[in-house]
Each structure stands twice: as structure tokens, then as C-alpha cells.
Amino acid sequence: MKKYQLGEFEEIVILTIGILNNRAYSVSIKDEIESRLSRTVSFGALHTALKRLEDKGYLKSFAGESTEERAGRPRQYFEITAMGKKAMQYAKETRDELWKAIPKTVWQANLSG
């Protein structure tokens, strides 16, 4: 049963928001992901993911201060909701279970191969 849906990129985004804690808005998220995972992130992909997460109820957003460098446009800060936290937990647990279920021999074989 698909209780909590979280795509790969969405998971990265929500984890990053967790890392940034209170300072998460699109530019900071983008920078954080790019520096930590050394992959480029387009605004398009990021905003789509943020919007989806918000629609799912995992994130909530609020308007922040507007600065001159943003030409007077406010920042949109993101925060993880209780449901978002559950979804993250769920994603982690399912992964862990899968990890545990993998027979040890697979690793050995891989190591030897």
C-alpha cells in the first residue's frame, strides 16, 4: 500500500529542508543539494518537487522577507509538516528493511567479483 509517496528527488529535497531547518527556501535548498551531492539542480525541477510536496501535505510554506537582490520579491520558506516527518521516517524504515533483507552473500559475491 502506498501510504507515503516520496520520489527519489523529493526525498533529497525534503531531507535538505530538514538539514537547513528554518532557512530553507529554494535558492538555499538548491545550493545545499548542489554542494552536498555535487549534482546540478534546475529551478524548474526544484519548484516542481516543492509544489508536489506541498500538495501532498509534507511541506508548508510561508512568505519571508524580500531583499533588494531579489528585486523586492519575497522568499518562500519551507517547513516540514508532521505528516512530512512521518513520510520521511517511513521512507527510511522501508529502505532499512530492504537493506536488512538482502542476503549477506550478495555483498560477498560483489566483493569477490
Binding site: V27, G44, H47, K51, R52, E69
Partner: protein, 868 residues
């Protein structure tokens, strides 16, 4: 969201510019923007739209201002819609009333009338009647039948209060104890479970109580029918029947009154297949009436064997079909002097429903036409709205809201108008319609119709106006509009108007024809007096003599029926004596020797009845003579073997074998709907039908005085006989009273349609002349005449009305011809009706347009050209 993204882009740009320089930052910016073109981000219109509930206030404000700003157009719109809705509501109330006949019984859906289908050697009768045992046994042996009730109307008799014996001729209605359980005729007093249980009980309605006792608290009092030996006790007071009830009895006595009578005990035990009772069955929920009636047929056939060549079966007719779907079912179980239950005409229900819808539609079209035509005045408004971000859906919402606002105002006004005109309308339609006590279903339908009309009338202009581009709107581009749609709608309006005008004219001519046709007898100044008692019947020679001595009486005759009869005429099977042909069917009534003189019926051949007993002579009409192959009356003997009082033919114990002594010219003894049928006039003391009427031709002087004298004579001869009389011409007019009503109703509807259509035309003409005001100015300066300009402005519209005429004529021709087929004697629709209707429509349209056209054409061109 867009705001945030813009900010993000700016911020990133700034950062990159610091880091990599302008060029690289520019390129990256473009890439970022391009990568933002994603469906998830772009199609976020929903979030951006305004909360529409806030907008309603604004819609209302602009709509209202708009109404006030252009008073002429608003008035045209509202008046047109109000007019349309008044017509719609009145007709809808009428139709709704007709469609909900007998629906007020709680069990109406489950009550069925038993109808007998009999076929005796190819001669089929369908009669709403059945036998005693069918009713009695089917409630025991057919599980789906919850209960049944029997009712019969045995004739008319005097009902008197023994304490104050004043006779009242009333129909004797008898029913069993289940009658009030199955039907919900409301009782003001009395217990409905027991009221008809005890022998010698009677329930009467409040109106009859008022007539007899002058009060309604008469429970327990006694009443007596003149033909019965025992008095009846009043056990219940019925409320007056609502107008949409098929039942019109004023009293019901208990069937159990006869249980001890010998004739009852003898006949009813074996009465399986007679036509003595109207039987109504209450079925259990979800029963299939067809299978129940099949069981009834089997039940009867297992106990009764029909004669040779006779097929017998039963069907169940739903109670709700009684009023409109009983056209070929004979209302049985009644004496021939009791009127059958009144019938509605489904054809007219259809015609009226369509009329109501069309009137409303025409009013809606008006709104559409006026609004689109006037839209050029609002082009700037729409442009500004669009420029500051109104979406198409907002504008559509706004225009629809405006049309609902107009429709709503019109609706409120219409309710007011209907409330005022309902009283005269009821008077004329013979109904008791009311806006506020009508079933809520009516309101649901009416509201739905209003919402739909608001939607229809607003939607076209809403779609058209919201489609336009804001730039062209603000530039002040002229609205070309969809002229084809508008002209199409005008043609449609006038087509309907012309069809309705033609329909009304034809109806008018037909009703006039019906009233003026030479009936073959003289109906004027003829007083017809009912003979209700045995004394009045047996003393008829004396009474006739006394009547004829009244100075203002010209002639007097006794008959068993009169031409234009409202009670059932008897029919007989007749053939030449010794012939083996199948007998023909002819009407028959008794008449004395003064009949022809009094009614001014022409004797073609042979002789009249003579003073001496001529009881074995008959006179036939031309149609009957043709049927019997008689060219010259010379005392041919015919054989009359069977007689019918409306239902089955009963064979006479001794066949009546009279001689034909004369032939009269055909006269219309029935309504003009029916072709003249064979008719036999038998002598007044014939064995088939006793006399029932005095027909008195009076002089046109002091008619009330004459009536008083006639009454005195009747009372002197029989105190018990109430003086009941009719004027024959009034009675005949009753045949066509419904036609006259329909004619008036349709006439008004036609007037309303043409009026509304003209309002619309007026609005359009105003608009189009306004549009061309400059053109007219230039033309005038260059020397155009007023007449030339008027014809220029009117031409386009008249073309539309002409096209409408072209479409309307064949439709009207087809429809009126179909309707006229209802009448055996009818007018031919002549060409001038069409020409008149067309000319009328043209004339009215021309008048409407020319007002505007002349005004514009006469205006000083300086006024219109000055600003250039």
C-alpha cells in the same frame, strides 16, 4: 508562486553575476527560465484565480449599475421576461393541475380502476365496470390485492330532509365500506373507518349539507331518498372535492343498506361479470398491475362462462390516468341520466405545454439579442476588466450573474402579476389554481425553468463577449458580433409568433363555426325541463296541456332525450324485419307528435306521429334511412332486438318491431365533433325509452315571468319534483366551452409572444439605427429622403419577418389541419388566414421599427456629424 520564483531567479542571478560575471549569469538565467517551463508550474491558474464568492458582490454592483444606466434596455428586457414568465406560470399552473388529477390520495400510485374488455363476435366494448364478486373475491384470493372497493351511481333521485321536505335532485352514489379506506376523501366529521359500514348510512359533502340544512354540523340527522323505503343516517361530512378530482359525488350511501334486500341476495352471489360496479383496487407496493389483471381475468373465467363468441378480459388502469387517458373507456356502472366523469384532453395539454415553453423561450431570446446588440457599449468595460486580469471564466460569471439578476427581478414581478391575475384567470379557466397552495413539485420545476432560462439567455452573450481580445476592445474596435445568430433568433421568434397567430385565428373561426352552424333544428329560446318523478311522467298530457296554455309559450313537446343531449343516449341494434344481415346500430329516443314543430325539424317524407296511439311507429333520420336502405317510408317493419344504455347491448325479451312512417332531415343531435349518426325517433310511449323532458319554445318577452309560470305548473302537478330546467342554446354551448376557453388562452399567449418579440425587435432596431447614425447623417447630407432612409432601415428587419412567415406557414398549416381533424364538421383553413397573420406580423414589426427609423431619419445630420 510566480513571485517567489522570480525572486529566486533574481537572487541566483545576482550571486552568479558576482561569481562568474554578467555573460555567464545571463546565459544561466535563460537556461533556468527555459527549464521552468514545466506543466506543474505553468498550469497553476487555479491558485491564482480570485475567490469567486467575493466577486459576487462586485458582480451585483456592476450588474445593478448597468441596469440603471440603460433604462430603456433594462425595461425592455425585464418587461419582456416578466410577460413571458407570467404566461409561462399561468399555463404551467393550468397544465400542472390537469396532470395531477386525483393525485392527492396518499395511495394514488397504488390505486387502479378495473376496466372490462369484452368482444362479442368482433364487437368490442371497453367499459370501466366489473361485477360484485370480482371485487369481493380478488381481495381474498389474489395476494397482490390489498383491498378493493365498489361504487355505483344508480341514478338521480330526490333527497329530502324529513323535517323540512324540500326536494333536491341528487345523484345516488353507493359504495362499500372500503371506499374511504382506499381513497382519502377528507371527512370534516365522522369516522372514516366506520362511516360506510352500517346499513342505511350516508355521508354528504359540506356543500350539500349547506343546501339542505343551511349548516354543516348535521351528524346523526336523517335524510331520505324518495325512491327508498328507509331513512338514512348521516355518518360523515365530506369536505368539498378539490377541482382536480375526477370524482364529483355529493353524497355516498352505504352498500350494506341493501345486503338484506332480496334482489341483492339473489343477484350478487353469482355476479361475476356484470357491469354493475365501478371497482377500484388497492395493490400492495411493487405489484405488477398487468399480472394482477391477468389473475382477475382467470378468477372471473373460472367462475363464469361467457356466451358463445364472447371474449372477456380485465385490465387495471392507474388512478392517475383517469383524467387524461380514458378517451376510449366508457365510464360504466351508472344510470344513463348520470353524467360520466369529466375528461381532460391530452392533445391540449401538449399544445399548452409547448406554448408555455415557447413564450418563455422567446423572452429569453429577447434578452440574448438585446444584450449582444448592446455589447458595443460595454466593450471598454470588458477591455479594462480583461487588462487588469479578469479571466474568461470571470467574465462569463459576470454576464451570467447579470442575466440571473434580470431574470430574478422579472420572476419576482411575474409572481406579483400572476398573483393579481390569478383570480380572473381561475374564473375563466374554471379552475381553483393557487400559487401558494400548489404542490412543491411545481415550484421545483418552475425554479429550474427560471434558472435554465437565465442561463440560456445569458450564456450566448457571455461566451461572445468574453471571447474578445482585450487589446482590440480597448482600441475601441467596433463589435461586429454574430449577426447570423441574432437574425436566426429573430426569425425563430417571429416564426413562433406567426404560427400562434394563425392557430388562434383558426381556433376562433372554428368555434364561431361550431356556434353558428345550422344544426338542423332551432335551439334558441328553448327551455328544457327535466322530468324526474313518476307523477310528472304519467301526467304528461295534462302538464303539456297546461304549459301550452301559457300565453308566452309557442310550442311544447315531450321527449326522452333532446338534441344536444348531455346524458347518455340509448343505442339499439336494428335491421329490416326478416333480414339476416348483421343489425346496424342506431341512436333512439322517444318523441311526441309536437317534436318536429317545436324543434323545427324538417320532415322530408312520410308523415308525423298521430294523436292516436302511434307507439308502433318510428320516424328515422336520413342517415338511418340509408343504413336501412329505405328510400320511401311505407310502413316497412324493422326489428329492434337489443338496446344499450352505453355499455353492453342487452337483448330485449320481446323484440320491438315498429313500422317506419317518416324520414326527417338529418340534424345534429350530438356535438359537431361527431358525424351525424343514424337516429330513430320512436313515439313517446315506446317500450325502449320513456320520456324525460318537456321542451318548451317560448316567446322572447318576459322570460323570467314565463319561467315562473312553468315552475308553478310543474309544482302544482308534483310537489316533489324540483323545477330543473336548461336553456338549450346554453346547454349546446357547453359542448364548446372548452374550445372557447382554449381559444382565449391561446389568443392571449399569441398576443404575449408577438408583444415580446416586438419588444426585442424594438431593441434591435434602436441599436442598429444608433450604429448607423453617422451613415444616415452622410446620406442625408448627400440628399437622401426621409422615406428612402426609413425603408433602408426597415428593410433588413422586414426581410427577417418575411422569412419567418415562409417557415411558419407550412408548420401552421400542418398543425391546424391536424387539430381540425378532431371535429367531424370543421372549417377549411383558407389562404386568407395565412395572409392576414403574415400581414399582421409584418404590420406590427413595421410599426415597431418605423418609430426608431423615422426618428433617426428625421434627425438633423449636423448632430451626428459635428464631432468628425
Amino acid at each position: 508562486m510566480q513571485g517567489y520564483i522570480e525572486g529566486d531567479l533574481m537572487e541566483a542571478y545576482h550571486a552568479r553575476r558576482e561569481k562568474y560575471g554578467k555573460r555567464k549569469a545571463d546565459v544561466q538565467f535563460i537556461i533556468d527560465v527555459l527549464l521552468l517551463f514545466r506543466p506543474g508550474i505553468i498550469s497553476s491558474k487555479k491558485r491564482y484565480s480570485l475567490n469567486s464568492s467575493y466577486m459576487i458582490g462586485s458582480y451585483f454592483k456592476t450588474g445593478w449599475r448597468n441596469l440603471l444606466r440603460s433604462k430603456l434596455h433594462s425595461t425592455l428586457n425585464i418587461v419582456g421576461l416578466t410577460f413571458g414568465m407570467v404566461c409561462f406560470l399561468l399555463i404551467a399552473l393550468y397544465v400542472f393541475d390537469e396532470l395531477t388529477f386525483d393525485q392527492y390520495h396518499v395511495n394514488a400510485e397504488k390505486i387502479y380502476r378495473v376496466v372490462e374488455h369484452k368482444n362479442v363476435r368482433g364487437e368490442a366494448t371497453i367499459i370501466a365496470a366489473a361485477g360484485y364478486k370480482l371485487a369481493e373475491e380478488s381481495q381474498h384470493s389474489i395476494p397482490e390485492v390489498e383491498s378493493t372497493t365498489r361504487m355505483l351511481r344508480t341514478g338521480r333521485a330526490n333527497l329530502v330532509d324529513p323535517e323540512h321536505p324540500v326536494p333536491f335532485q341528487e345523484t345516488v352514489t353507493i359504495a362499500d365500506e372500503h371506499f374511504l379506506e382506499i381513497f382519502d376523501f377528507p371527512l370534516l366529521e365522522g369516522d372514516r373507518r366506520t362511516a360506510l359500514k352500517a346499513p342505511a348510512s350516508i355521508i354528504i359533502n359540506e356543500e350539500l349539507a349547506m343546501r339542505i340544512f343551511n349548516r354543516t354540523d348535521v351528524m346523526g340527522k336523517s335524510l331520505q331518498f324518495s325512491h327508498l323505503s328507509f331513512p338514512l343516517k348521516i355518518t360523515g361530512i365530506l369536505k368539498a372535492h378539490p377541482r382536480n378530482s375526477s370524482f364529483n359525488f355529493s353524497s355516498v350511501m352505504s352498500e350494506s343498506s341493501f345486503y338484506t334486500a332480496d334482489f341483492f341476495k339473489e343477484t350478487m352471489a353469482s355476479d361475476w361479470a356484470s357491469n354493475s360496479f365501478s371497482v377500484y383496487a388497492l395493490l400492495r407496493p411493487h405489484s405488477n398491475p398487468d399480472s394482477v389483471s391477468g389473475k382477475m381475468t382467470r378468477l372471473v373465467l373460472s367462475n363464469y362462462t361467457p356466451g358463445d363468441g364472447t371474449k372477456l378480459s380485465y385490465s387495471l388502469q392507474p388512478l392517475k390516468d383517469l383524467h387524461l387517458k380514458s378517451a376510449n373507456i366508457f365510464d360504466g356502472a351508472r344510470n344513463s341520466n348520470v353524467e360520466s366523469i369529466p375528461q381532460g384532453n391530452p392533445l391540449y395539454i401538449t399544445i399548452f405545454s409547448f406554448t408555455a415553453l415557447f413564450v418563455l423561450l422567446i423572452a429569453a431570446i429577447n434578452y440574448t439579442n438585446l444584450t449582444t446588440a448592446r455589447a458595443s457599449g460595454r466593450v471598454k468595460e470588458i477591455g479594462v476588466r480583461k487588462a487588469i486580469g479578469a479571466m474568461r471564466s470571470n467574465l462569463i460569471g459576470q454576464f451570467l450573474f447579470e442575466s440571473w439578476l434580470t431574470t430574478g427581478i422579472a420572476f419576482v414581478l411575474a409572481i406579483g402579476v400572476v398573483h393579481v391575475v390569478l383570480f380572473p384567470f381561475n374564473q375563466f379557466a374554471g379552475k381553483q389554481l393557487s400559487l401558494f397552495s400548489v404542490n412543491y413539485h411545481f415550484w421545483i420545476y418552475a425554479m429550474a425553468a427560471i434558472v435554465i432560462i437565465g442561463f440560456l439567455s445569458g450564456s450566448y452573450s457571455a461566451l461572445l463577449l468574453s471571447r474578445l481580445k482585450p487589446v482590440s476592445l480597448l482600441k475601441g474596435l467596433k463589435l461586429t458580433g454574430d449577426l447570423s445568430v441574432r437574425t436566426g433568433l429573430v426569425i425563430f421568434q417571429f416564426t413562433i409568433s406567426v404560427v400562434m397567430i394563425i392557430g388562434t385565428l383558426v381556433l376562433l373561426l372554428q368555434v364561431r363555426y361550431l356556434n353558428d352552424t345550422d344544426l338542423g333544428f332551432n335551439k334558441d329560446l328553448m327551455v328544457v325541463i327535466d322530468v324526474n318523478t313518476r307523477t310528472a311522467r304519467s301526467n304528461f298530457e295534462t302538464i303539456k296541456d297546461q304549459i301550452s296554455k301559457v300565453p308566452s309559450v309557442k310550442n311544447v313537446s315531450v321527449t326522452s332525450r333532446v338534441p344536444g343531449e348531455w346524458k347518455t343516449l340509448r343505442t339499439v341494434k336494428v335491421r329490416n324485419e326478416g333480414s339476416t344481415d348483421d343489425p346496424g346500430i342506431s341512436y333512439l329516443f322517444g318523441a311526441d307528435k309536437d317534436f318536429m314543430k317545436t324543434f323545427e325539424v324538417t320532415l322530408l317524407q312520410g308523415r308525423n306521429f298521430r294523436e292516436a296511439n302511434d307507439s308502433s311507429s318510428i320516424i328515422v333520420n336520413e342517415t338511418a334511412a340509408r343504413m336501412l336502405n329505405i328510400t320511401e317510408p311505407s310502413g316497412q317493419t324493422v326489428e329492434i332486438a337489443a338496446v344499450s344504455r352505453g355499455g353492453d347491448f342487452e337483448t330485449l325479451e320481446v323484440p320491438f318491431t315498429p313500422r317506419v312512417i317518416g324520414i326527417v332531415k338529418d340534424f345534429h343531435f350530438q356535438s359537431l365533433r361527431d358525424r351525424i349518426q343514424p337516429l330513430i325517433l320512436a313515439y313517446n310511449n315506446n317500450p325502449i325509452h320513456v320520456i324525460d323532458y318537456y321542451s318548451v319554445r317560448i316567446a322572447p318577452v318576459d322570460i323570467p315571468g314565463t319561467l315562473d309560470k312553468l315552475k308553478a305548473i310543474m309544482v302544482r302537478n308534483d310537489v316533489d319534483d324540483p323545477f330543473e330546467y336548461h336553456f338549450l342554446d346554453d346547454q349546446l354551448a357547453l359542448f364548446y366551452v372548452e374550445d372557447a376557453r382554449r381559444q382565449t388562452l391561446l389568443g392571449w399567449a399569441a398576443l404575449a409572444t408577438i408583444f415580446i418579440a416586438c419588444l426585442g425587435l424594438f431593441g434591435l432596431a434602436t441599436y442598429s439605427t444608433e450604429q448607423r447614425v453617422k451613415e444616415i447623417g452622410v446620406r442625408k447630407v448627400l440628399g437622401a429622403t426621409v422615406i428612402g432612409l426609413v425603408s433602408l432601415l426597415s428593410r433588413d428587419f422586414l426581410k427577417l419577418v418575411l422569412i419567418a412567415n415562409g417557415i411558419a406557414f407550412p408548420i401552421a398549416w400542418w398543425a391546424t389541419n391536424r387539430w381540425l381533424q378532431e371535429y367531424a364538421y370543421h372549417i377549411e383553413v383558407s389562404w386568407w388566414v395565412f395572409v392576414l397573420a403574415g400581414a399582421l406580423a409584418m404590420g406590427i414589426a413595421l410599426l415597431t421599427i418605423s418609430y426608431q427609423a423615422i426618428k433617426t431619419a428625421r434627425a438633423n445630420p449636423v448632430n451626428s456629424l459635428r464631432s468628425e
